[in-house]
Subunit: 179 residues, 2 copies
Amino acid sequence: MPRAGLSPEALVDIALAELDATGGAPLSIGTVAARAGVKPPSIYKHVAGLAELEALVGARIYDDLGEAVAAAVDGRQGADAARAFLHAYRSFAVRHPGRYRALPPRPVGHPALAAAGARVMAIAERAVADRGGDDAIHALRGLRAAAHGFATLEAAGGFGLPADVDASFDRLVEQLVRL
Amino acid sequence: MPRAGLSPEALVDIALAELDATGGAPLSIGTVAARAGVKPPSIYKHVAGLAELEALVGARIYDDLGEAVAAAVDGRQGADAARAFLHAYRSFAVRHPGRYRALPPRPVGHPALAAAGARVMAIAERAVADRGGDDAIHALRGLRAAAHGFATLEAAGGFGLPADVDASFDRLVEQLVRL
DNA sequence: GTCGTTGGCTAATTTGATTAGCCTAAGCGC
DNA sequence: GCGCTTAGGCTAATCAAATTAGCCAACGAC
């Protein structure tokens, strides 16, 4: 009875591969166990249950998304920062549609998930930081709504028409970035 | 053994009440049956199963949303139409957050659901119809992304900061509506 | 090499959806 | 009003997935 070399991190890797393969279908203990080459009950030696696995997966996805937008925003100011945030955000969702779809609507319920979500929020705040007072808050909400809305629709395959989606996105970004 | 007077429509009503009560928790045959005063297997005399019930519920929600945005857009042109669409869309999500959350990400998989989703899309198209060619498509995508993104975040309680959410939304709407 | 802990397994339990099969209430023609 | 048909309720059984219980081998520290 050889060991499989599992760990919470390894299970998250496996779950991400599963999300990539299925395009974001709900995770299950059974499919993750099968991909790990192990029987379902063995999963419980590494995570508390499906809910925790989902939270850890969400945390990892938010971590990766946060890293991408942080790198894009870093060193930029004003409209450039907002543009960079939006493009990096959308790019992540397009590159990993299954992962983006699997993100929980709100990063709550598990410390790691909440922390990773807060990190993304902090970068969004940084991207509108040059605006003052309430205007920064309004800009932040617009940024979040547009980024999440566009990413969600695109990751779901919601844009059926033939016109260039990049152009649509650029147009939206410029509308948001204008003072 | 008295009859309960059920029907697909009545079950949808019950499911909507459930969504309103729980704030959008996943539906289950058991809870709907309990609210209907009936045992779970009886549900199957009216709908094919949970998946069909969910589709019918989604169709009803899209129908109601479509009715709301249609009434708002009706008779308006240009920026006024787009503004009216956005405000009516958001207003629906704020008035029925549980229902909005329960909407399937894409209206596919059941004819009634697809039809109801297409109806909402058609109204969004009408709201940008005065723009020409590809610009109409870009505007449509921006409209959808902003409406869905803002509605999703707000229905999920994602705006924690104290500043006025109406003002944030108005600001976003004016950015989108500008040529 | 032995011991304690870790991580696999099989078997059993629980919860929910679903199906099978029974049985009566309601509507209808006579 | 009476018997027939059908629709809609029920109980009991089945299936799938998560989870728990309890057993045993593998690995690392000594």
